[in-house]
Subunit: 210 residues, 2 copies
DNA sequence: TTATTTATCCATCAAATGATTGAATCACAG
DNA sequence: CTGTGATTCAATCATTTGATGGATAAATAA
Protein backbone atom coordinates (compact mmCIF):
# COMPACT_ATOMS: atom_id res chain seq x y z
CA UNK A 1 0.00 0.00 0.00
CA UNK A 2 1.36 3.37 -0.96
CA UNK A 3 -0.30 6.74 -0.93
CA UNK A 4 -0.24 8.97 -4.04
CA UNK A 5 2.41 11.07 -2.33
CA UNK A 6 4.68 8.11 -1.76
CA UNK A 7 4.40 7.10 -5.38
CA UNK A 8 5.29 10.61 -6.46
CA UNK A 9 8.32 10.70 -4.21
CA UNK A 10 9.61 7.42 -5.60
CA UNK A 11 9.41 8.37 -9.26
CA UNK A 12 10.39 12.02 -9.77
CA UNK A 13 9.66 11.75 -13.50
CA UNK A 14 6.04 10.83 -13.00
CA UNK A 15 3.35 13.36 -13.70
CA UNK A 16 2.32 13.23 -10.05
CA UNK A 17 5.83 14.16 -8.98
CA UNK A 18 6.21 16.90 -11.56
CA UNK A 19 2.97 18.51 -10.42
CA UNK A 20 3.98 18.20 -6.78
CA UNK A 21 7.35 19.83 -7.41
CA UNK A 22 5.82 22.78 -9.20
CA UNK A 23 3.09 23.08 -6.59
CA UNK A 24 5.72 23.27 -3.85
CA UNK A 25 7.41 26.15 -5.55
CA UNK A 26 4.30 28.12 -6.46
CA UNK A 27 2.48 27.61 -3.17
CA UNK A 28 5.69 28.71 -1.48
CA UNK A 29 5.97 31.85 -3.59
CA UNK A 30 2.36 32.99 -3.63
CA UNK A 31 0.78 31.26 -0.65
CA UNK A 32 -2.39 29.18 -0.73
CA UNK A 33 -4.79 31.87 -1.88
CA UNK A 34 -2.28 33.54 -4.17
CA UNK A 35 -1.82 30.31 -6.07
CA UNK A 36 -4.33 29.11 -8.65
CA UNK A 37 -4.55 25.59 -9.98
CA UNK A 38 -4.19 27.13 -13.42
CA UNK A 39 -0.83 28.65 -12.50
CA UNK A 40 0.48 25.26 -11.43
CA UNK A 41 -0.95 23.45 -14.45
CA UNK A 42 0.45 26.01 -16.85
CA UNK A 43 3.90 25.78 -15.28
CA UNK A 44 3.87 22.00 -15.62
CA UNK A 45 2.50 22.34 -19.12
CA UNK A 46 -0.70 20.37 -18.59
CA UNK A 47 -4.42 20.99 -18.37
CA UNK A 48 -6.05 21.74 -15.02
CA UNK A 49 -8.19 18.63 -15.32
CA UNK A 50 -5.04 16.53 -15.41
CA UNK A 51 -3.94 18.15 -12.19
CA UNK A 52 -7.28 17.36 -10.59
CA UNK A 53 -7.09 13.83 -11.94
CA UNK A 54 -3.83 13.22 -10.07
CA UNK A 55 -4.28 15.17 -6.88
CA UNK A 56 -7.99 15.73 -6.35
CA UNK A 57 -8.51 19.35 -5.41
CA UNK A 58 -6.41 22.34 -4.60
CA UNK A 59 -6.55 21.66 -0.87
CA UNK A 60 -5.53 18.04 -1.32
CA UNK A 61 -2.54 19.09 -3.38
CA UNK A 62 -1.60 21.72 -0.83
CA UNK A 63 -1.75 19.23 2.00
CA UNK A 64 0.39 16.80 0.04
CA UNK A 65 2.93 19.57 -0.35
CA UNK A 66 2.92 20.10 3.41
CA UNK A 67 3.50 16.42 4.09
CA UNK A 68 6.18 16.27 1.42
CA UNK A 69 8.04 19.19 2.93
CA UNK A 70 7.75 17.78 6.43
CA UNK A 71 9.45 14.60 5.27
CA UNK A 72 12.26 16.42 3.50
CA UNK A 73 12.96 18.75 6.39
CA UNK A 74 12.78 15.98 8.97
CA UNK A 75 15.28 13.94 7.01
CA UNK A 76 17.69 16.86 6.66
CA UNK A 77 17.50 17.51 10.39
CA UNK A 78 18.51 13.92 10.99
CA UNK A 79 21.47 14.43 8.68
CA UNK A 80 22.48 17.55 10.57
CA UNK A 81 22.19 15.76 13.88
CA UNK A 82 24.55 13.03 12.67
CA UNK A 83 27.08 15.60 11.51
CA UNK A 84 27.29 17.44 14.81
CA UNK A 85 27.12 14.50 17.19
CA UNK A 86 29.61 14.78 20.02
CA UNK A 87 31.07 18.15 19.07
CA UNK A 88 31.20 21.18 21.39
CA UNK A 89 28.27 23.57 21.26
CA UNK A 90 29.91 26.33 19.23
CA UNK A 91 30.87 23.90 16.51
CA UNK A 92 27.49 22.23 16.60
CA UNK A 93 25.91 25.61 15.97
CA UNK A 94 28.32 26.61 13.22
CA UNK A 95 27.96 23.32 11.36
CA UNK A 96 24.20 23.25 11.75
CA UNK A 97 23.91 26.78 10.44
CA UNK A 98 26.08 26.00 7.43
CA UNK A 99 24.24 22.80 6.63
CA UNK A 100 20.76 24.14 7.09
CA UNK A 101 21.53 27.33 5.17
CA UNK A 102 22.91 25.42 2.20
CA UNK A 103 20.03 22.98 2.27
CA UNK A 104 17.32 25.60 2.53
CA UNK A 105 18.85 27.82 -0.14
CA UNK A 106 18.66 24.76 -2.37
CA UNK A 107 15.07 24.13 -1.27
CA UNK A 108 13.57 27.54 -0.57
CA UNK A 109 10.04 26.12 -0.90
CA UNK A 110 10.54 24.69 2.56
CA UNK A 111 11.24 28.03 4.21
CA UNK A 112 8.58 29.73 2.16
CA UNK A 113 5.88 27.26 3.07
CA UNK A 114 6.79 27.20 6.75
CA UNK A 115 6.80 30.97 7.03
CA UNK A 116 3.44 31.21 5.29
CA UNK A 117 2.08 28.82 7.85
CA UNK A 118 3.60 30.72 10.77
CA UNK A 119 2.50 34.17 9.82
CA UNK A 120 -0.58 33.90 7.69
CA UNK A 121 -4.02 32.50 8.04
CA UNK A 122 -5.77 30.40 5.45
CA UNK A 123 -9.41 30.78 4.70
CA UNK A 124 -10.26 27.14 4.76
CA UNK A 125 -10.80 24.66 7.55
CA UNK A 126 -7.56 22.76 7.29
CA UNK A 127 -6.20 20.97 10.31
CA UNK A 128 -3.05 19.69 8.66
CA UNK A 129 0.14 21.11 10.03
CA UNK A 130 3.87 21.27 9.77
CA UNK A 131 5.85 19.27 12.29
CA UNK A 132 7.68 22.34 13.51
CA UNK A 133 6.89 21.74 17.19
CA UNK A 134 8.37 18.25 17.08
CA UNK A 135 11.34 19.43 15.06
CA UNK A 136 11.97 22.26 17.46
CA UNK A 137 11.98 19.97 20.47
CA UNK A 138 14.28 17.61 18.60
CA UNK A 139 16.72 20.37 17.84
CA UNK A 140 16.68 21.51 21.45
CA UNK A 141 17.68 18.05 22.56
CA UNK A 142 20.20 17.62 19.77
CA UNK A 143 21.82 20.92 20.71
CA UNK A 144 22.15 19.75 24.28
CA UNK A 145 19.75 22.41 25.50
CA UNK A 146 17.20 19.92 26.80
CA UNK A 147 17.57 16.48 28.36
CA UNK A 148 14.89 14.87 26.22
CA UNK A 149 12.37 16.05 23.69
CA UNK A 150 9.50 15.83 26.16
CA UNK A 151 11.15 18.14 28.57
CA UNK A 152 12.18 21.29 26.72
CA UNK A 153 11.22 24.33 28.81
CA UNK A 154 9.60 27.32 27.07
CA UNK A 155 12.79 29.39 27.34
CA UNK A 156 14.72 26.77 25.43
CA UNK A 157 12.03 26.32 22.81
CA UNK A 158 12.01 30.05 22.22
CA UNK A 159 15.77 30.14 21.71
CA UNK A 160 15.62 27.34 19.19
CA UNK A 161 12.75 29.07 17.43
CA UNK A 162 14.78 32.25 17.25
CA UNK A 163 17.57 30.41 15.46
CA UNK A 164 15.29 28.58 13.06
CA UNK A 165 13.27 31.69 12.29
CA UNK A 166 16.31 33.75 11.48
CA UNK A 167 17.48 31.13 9.00
CA UNK A 168 14.10 30.85 7.31
CA UNK A 169 13.78 34.62 7.16
CA UNK A 170 17.03 35.10 5.28
CA UNK A 171 16.26 32.24 2.91
CA UNK A 172 12.74 33.25 2.14
CA UNK A 173 13.52 36.95 2.04
CA UNK A 174 16.31 36.59 -0.51
CA UNK A 175 14.39 38.38 -3.24
CA UNK A 176 13.82 41.30 -0.93
CA UNK A 177 17.07 41.48 1.01
CA UNK A 178 19.49 40.70 -1.79
CA UNK A 179 18.84 43.87 -3.79
CA UNK A 180 18.49 45.74 -0.54
CA UNK A 181 22.06 45.09 0.59
CA UNK A 182 23.21 45.29 -3.04
CA UNK A 183 25.05 42.00 -3.34
CA UNK A 184 24.68 39.08 -5.71
CA UNK A 185 23.24 35.74 -4.73
CA UNK A 186 26.54 34.04 -3.98
CA UNK A 187 27.73 36.84 -1.74
CA UNK A 188 24.33 36.98 -0.10
CA UNK A 189 24.48 33.32 0.87
CA UNK A 190 27.91 33.83 2.39
CA UNK A 191 26.65 36.89 4.24
CA UNK A 192 23.71 34.95 5.62
CA UNK A 193 25.97 32.28 7.09
CA UNK A 194 28.34 34.86 8.48
CA UNK A 195 25.55 36.93 10.01
CA UNK A 196 23.78 33.94 11.52
CA UNK A 197 26.97 32.80 13.20
CA UNK A 198 27.76 36.31 14.35
CA UNK A 199 24.36 36.60 15.97
CA UNK A 200 23.76 33.19 17.44
CA UNK A 201 27.05 31.66 18.51
CA UNK A 202 27.99 34.28 21.13
CA UNK A 203 24.57 34.01 22.77
CA UNK A 204 24.75 30.29 23.36
CA UNK A 205 28.46 29.98 24.11
CA UNK A 206 28.56 32.89 26.56
CA UNK A 207 25.76 31.32 28.51
CA UNK A 208 27.45 27.95 28.44
CA UNK A 209 30.52 29.44 30.10
CA UNK A 210 28.48 30.57 33.09
CA UNK B 1 -4.88 69.51 -0.13
CA UNK B 2 -5.09 66.23 1.73
CA UNK B 3 -5.15 62.73 0.40
CA UNK B 4 -7.89 60.31 1.44
CA UNK B 5 -5.34 58.57 3.64
CA UNK B 6 -4.46 61.76 5.48
CA UNK B 7 -8.12 62.44 6.14
CA UNK B 8 -8.59 58.96 7.48
CA UNK B 9 -5.61 59.27 9.79
CA UNK B 10 -6.90 62.54 11.20
CA UNK B 11 -10.38 61.34 12.07
CA UNK B 12 -10.29 57.75 13.35
CA UNK B 13 -14.07 57.71 13.64
CA UNK B 14 -14.66 58.38 9.97
CA UNK B 15 -15.81 55.61 7.71
CA UNK B 16 -12.58 55.89 5.73
CA UNK B 17 -10.56 55.34 8.89
CA UNK B 18 -12.70 52.46 10.11
CA UNK B 19 -12.32 50.69 6.79
CA UNK B 20 -8.58 51.32 6.77
CA UNK B 21 -8.15 49.93 10.27
CA UNK B 22 -10.03 46.75 9.47
CA UNK B 23 -8.19 46.41 6.16
CA UNK B 24 -4.86 46.61 7.96
CA UNK B 25 -5.82 43.78 10.23
CA UNK B 26 -7.32 41.50 7.61
CA UNK B 27 -4.69 42.08 4.94
CA UNK B 28 -2.13 41.35 7.65
CA UNK B 29 -3.79 38.12 8.66
CA UNK B 30 -4.69 36.70 5.27
CA UNK B 31 -2.39 38.49 2.84
CA UNK B 32 -3.47 40.28 -0.31
CA UNK B 33 -4.98 37.33 -2.14
CA UNK B 34 -6.38 35.74 0.98
CA UNK B 35 -8.36 38.86 1.75
CA UNK B 36 -11.60 39.68 -0.05
CA UNK B 37 -13.24 43.08 -0.11
CA UNK B 38 -16.33 41.34 1.24
CA UNK B 39 -14.42 40.15 4.32
CA UNK B 40 -13.36 43.70 5.09
CA UNK B 41 -16.78 45.19 4.39
CA UNK B 42 -18.51 42.59 6.53
CA UNK B 43 -16.12 43.20 9.42
CA UNK B 44 -16.76 46.93 9.24
CA UNK B 45 -20.47 46.26 8.89
CA UNK B 46 -20.97 47.97 5.56
CA UNK B 47 -21.67 47.04 1.97
CA UNK B 48 -18.81 46.41 -0.45
CA UNK B 49 -19.92 49.29 -2.61
CA UNK B 50 -19.40 51.63 0.31
CA UNK B 51 -15.86 50.34 0.60
CA UNK B 52 -15.27 50.98 -3.08
CA UNK B 53 -16.82 54.40 -2.76
CA UNK B 54 -14.25 55.40 -0.16
CA UNK B 55 -11.12 53.65 -1.32
CA UNK B 56 -11.54 52.85 -5.00
CA UNK B 57 -10.44 49.28 -5.54
CA UNK B 58 -8.84 46.51 -3.55
CA UNK B 59 -5.36 47.42 -4.72
CA UNK B 60 -5.83 51.07 -3.84
CA UNK B 61 -6.93 50.15 -0.36
CA UNK B 62 -4.01 47.76 0.01
CA UNK B 63 -1.53 50.42 -1.04
CA UNK B 64 -3.07 52.88 1.40
CA UNK B 65 -2.54 50.31 4.12
CA UNK B 66 1.12 50.01 3.15
CA UNK B 67 1.61 53.78 3.29
CA UNK B 68 -0.28 53.97 6.58
CA UNK B 69 1.92 51.31 8.13
CA UNK B 70 5.08 52.92 6.83
CA UNK B 71 4.13 56.15 8.59
CA UNK B 72 3.32 54.47 11.87
CA UNK B 73 6.48 52.40 11.91
CA UNK B 74 8.67 55.31 10.89
CA UNK B 75 7.27 57.43 13.70
CA UNK B 76 7.82 54.70 16.27
CA UNK B 77 11.41 54.27 15.14
CA UNK B 78 11.95 57.98 15.73
CA UNK B 79 10.54 57.57 19.24
CA UNK B 80 12.89 54.66 19.86
CA UNK B 81 15.86 56.63 18.60
CA UNK B 82 15.08 59.48 21.02
CA UNK B 83 14.85 57.05 23.92
CA UNK B 84 18.23 55.46 23.36
CA UNK B 85 20.21 58.54 22.37
CA UNK B 86 23.61 58.64 24.00
CA UNK B 87 23.39 55.35 25.89
CA UNK B 88 25.91 52.51 25.58
CA UNK B 89 25.22 49.86 22.96
CA UNK B 90 23.94 47.12 25.26
CA UNK B 91 21.37 49.46 26.75
CA UNK B 92 20.40 50.83 23.37
CA UNK B 93 19.69 47.30 22.25
CA UNK B 94 17.76 46.33 25.36
CA UNK B 95 15.60 49.45 25.31
CA UNK B 96 14.96 49.23 21.57
CA UNK B 97 13.95 45.60 21.88
CA UNK B 98 11.56 46.37 24.71
CA UNK B 99 10.03 49.34 22.96
CA UNK B 100 9.66 47.74 19.57
CA UNK B 101 8.30 44.52 21.03
CA UNK B 102 5.64 46.33 23.03
CA UNK B 103 4.74 48.52 20.10
CA UNK B 104 4.50 45.70 17.58
CA UNK B 105 2.53 43.45 19.91
CA UNK B 106 0.07 46.33 20.13
CA UNK B 107 0.13 46.73 16.34
CA UNK B 108 0.70 43.27 14.93
CA UNK B 109 -0.66 44.36 11.55
CA UNK B 110 2.68 46.04 10.99
CA UNK B 111 4.74 42.88 11.45
CA UNK B 112 2.20 40.84 9.53
CA UNK B 113 2.16 43.12 6.53
CA UNK B 114 5.93 43.49 6.43
CA UNK B 115 6.51 39.76 6.59
CA UNK B 116 3.99 39.12 3.85
CA UNK B 117 5.90 41.56 1.71
CA UNK B 118 9.27 39.97 2.51
CA UNK B 119 8.35 36.39 1.94
CA UNK B 120 5.49 36.26 -0.49
CA UNK B 121 4.81 37.40 -3.97
CA UNK B 122 1.69 39.18 -5.11
CA UNK B 123 0.06 38.44 -8.39
CA UNK B 124 -0.43 42.00 -9.47
CA UNK B 125 1.89 44.60 -10.89
CA UNK B 126 2.28 46.78 -7.82
CA UNK B 127 5.40 48.85 -7.38
CA UNK B 128 4.52 50.28 -4.01
CA UNK B 129 6.82 49.22 -1.23
CA UNK B 130 7.56 49.34 2.44
CA UNK B 131 10.32 51.65 3.55
CA UNK B 132 12.25 48.83 5.16
CA UNK B 133 15.53 49.60 3.39
CA UNK B 134 15.52 53.20 4.62
CA UNK B 135 14.45 52.15 8.10
CA UNK B 136 17.17 49.53 8.22
CA UNK B 137 19.87 52.01 7.28
CA UNK B 138 18.47 54.43 9.85
CA UNK B 139 18.61 51.83 12.58
CA UNK B 140 22.17 50.94 11.63
CA UNK B 141 23.21 54.54 12.08
CA UNK B 142 21.14 54.99 15.22
CA UNK B 143 22.76 51.92 16.74
CA UNK B 144 26.18 53.33 16.03
CA UNK B 145 26.94 50.56 13.56
CA UNK B 146 27.30 52.90 10.61
CA UNK B 147 28.62 56.46 10.32
CA UNK B 148 25.73 57.70 8.23
CA UNK B 149 22.72 56.19 6.56
CA UNK B 150 24.31 56.31 3.13
CA UNK B 151 27.27 54.30 4.19
CA UNK B 152 26.04 51.13 5.86
CA UNK B 153 28.05 48.17 4.57
CA UNK B 154 26.21 44.92 3.67
CA UNK B 155 27.48 43.16 6.80
CA UNK B 156 25.93 45.81 9.00
CA UNK B 157 22.66 45.86 7.09
CA UNK B 158 22.41 42.11 7.48
CA UNK B 159 22.91 42.31 11.22
CA UNK B 160 20.21 44.91 11.58
CA UNK B 161 17.92 42.83 9.41
CA UNK B 162 18.56 39.83 11.61
CA UNK B 163 17.41 41.77 14.67
CA UNK B 164 14.33 43.25 13.00
CA UNK B 165 13.35 39.93 11.46
CA UNK B 166 13.54 38.09 14.74
CA UNK B 167 11.23 40.64 16.35
CA UNK B 168 8.70 40.51 13.54
CA UNK B 169 8.79 36.73 13.51
CA UNK B 170 7.87 36.41 17.18
CA UNK B 171 5.15 39.05 16.88
CA UNK B 172 3.58 37.69 13.77
CA UNK B 173 4.01 34.07 14.80
CA UNK B 174 2.25 34.49 18.13
CA UNK B 175 -0.74 32.37 17.12
CA UNK B 176 1.60 29.58 16.15
CA UNK B 177 4.33 29.79 18.78
CA UNK B 178 2.20 30.61 21.80
CA UNK B 179 0.38 27.27 21.91
CA UNK B 180 3.59 25.58 20.84
CA UNK B 181 5.55 26.61 23.92
CA UNK B 182 2.38 26.28 26.00
CA UNK B 183 2.29 29.69 27.66
CA UNK B 184 -0.33 32.41 27.75
CA UNK B 185 -0.05 35.67 25.88
CA UNK B 186 1.40 37.68 28.73
CA UNK B 187 4.08 35.14 29.46
CA UNK B 188 4.79 34.84 25.77
CA UNK B 189 5.46 38.54 25.41
CA UNK B 190 7.86 38.41 28.34
CA UNK B 191 9.56 35.39 26.82
CA UNK B 192 9.96 37.15 23.50
CA UNK B 193 11.74 40.09 25.09
CA UNK B 194 13.92 37.81 27.18
CA UNK B 195 14.83 35.62 24.22
CA UNK B 196 15.57 38.54 21.92
CA UNK B 197 17.92 40.07 24.45
CA UNK B 198 19.54 36.71 25.14
CA UNK B 199 20.22 36.24 21.44
CA UNK B 200 21.20 39.67 20.27
CA UNK B 201 22.96 41.54 23.04
CA UNK B 202 25.95 39.18 23.39
CA UNK B 203 26.60 39.26 19.64
CA UNK B 204 26.90 43.02 19.43
CA UNK B 205 28.56 43.69 22.77
CA UNK B 206 31.18 40.98 22.40
CA UNK B 207 32.19 42.42 19.08
CA UNK B 208 32.29 45.92 20.52
CA UNK B 209 34.79 44.79 23.12
CA UNK B 210 37.24 43.71 20.46
C1' DT C 1 -38.18 74.62 2.42
C1' DT C 2 -35.68 73.21 -1.58
C1' DA C 3 -31.66 71.90 -3.98
C1' DT C 4 -27.32 69.79 -4.04
C1' DT C 5 -23.81 67.11 -2.54
C1' DT C 6 -22.40 63.15 0.16
C1' DA C 7 -22.95 58.61 1.70
C1' DT C 8 -25.04 54.02 1.75
C1' DC C 9 -27.13 49.93 0.06
C1' DC C 10 -29.39 46.54 -3.23
C1' DA C 11 -29.03 44.31 -7.44
C1' DT C 12 -26.20 42.95 -10.85
C1' DC C 13 -22.26 42.30 -14.02
C1' DA C 14 -17.88 40.33 -15.80
C1' DA C 15 -13.91 37.95 -14.91
C1' DA C 16 -11.41 34.60 -12.30
C1' DT C 17 -11.26 30.23 -10.32
C1' DG C 18 -12.05 25.49 -8.47
C1' DA C 19 -14.04 21.65 -10.22
C1' DT C 20 -16.42 18.14 -13.41
C1' DT C 21 -17.81 15.68 -17.62
C1' DG C 22 -17.14 13.17 -21.56
C1' DA C 23 -14.55 12.36 -25.54
C1' DA C 24 -10.08 11.31 -27.36
C1' DT C 25 -5.56 9.26 -26.85
C1' DC C 26 -2.12 6.26 -25.09
C1' DA C 27 -0.07 1.96 -22.90
C1' DC C 28 0.01 -2.55 -22.93
C1' DA C 29 -1.68 -7.24 -21.60
C1' DG C 30 -3.98 -10.94 -23.89
C1' DC D 1 -4.78 -6.84 -33.57
C1' DT D 2 -8.06 -6.06 -29.81
C1' DG D 3 -9.78 -4.65 -25.74
C1' DT D 4 -9.24 -2.66 -21.32
C1' DG D 5 -7.75 0.57 -18.15
C1' DA D 6 -5.00 4.68 -17.43
C1' DT D 7 -4.11 9.28 -18.86
C1' DT D 8 -4.94 13.71 -21.04
C1' DC D 9 -7.53 17.52 -22.77
C1' DA D 10 -11.33 20.68 -24.52
C1' DA D 11 -15.52 22.37 -23.05
C1' DT D 12 -18.34 23.59 -19.55
C1' DC D 13 -20.38 24.46 -14.88
C1' DA D 14 -21.00 26.73 -10.38
C1' DT D 15 -19.16 29.72 -7.17
C1' DT D 16 -16.42 33.41 -5.71
C1' DT D 17 -14.90 37.89 -6.18
C1' DG D 18 -13.77 42.60 -7.75
C1' DA D 19 -16.35 46.07 -9.42
C1' DT D 20 -20.34 49.17 -11.07
C1' DG D 21 -25.08 51.50 -11.62
C1' DG D 22 -28.84 53.31 -9.91
C1' DA D 23 -32.10 54.04 -6.28
C1' DT D 24 -32.46 55.80 -1.62
C1' DA D 25 -31.36 58.22 2.38
C1' DA D 26 -28.73 61.56 5.00
C1' DA D 27 -26.26 65.68 5.47
C1' DT D 28 -25.47 70.32 3.89
C1' DA D 29 -26.07 74.56 1.34
C1' DA D 30 -29.10 77.97 -0.64
Amino acid sequence: MSTPLEKARKDPESMKARILAVARRIFGEYGFHGTTTRMIAQEVGIDISTLHYHWGGKKDLYESVVVDINKDLGQELIEAEKAIHGLPLAERLAISIDMMTDYLFANPDISNMILFRYFGKTRYEGNLDFSVPEFTADIARSMGLARDKKNAPPETMMKVLAVMNSIHAFISGENFFCPMVKVDRERYIALVKETLKFIHIPAFTQNEAK
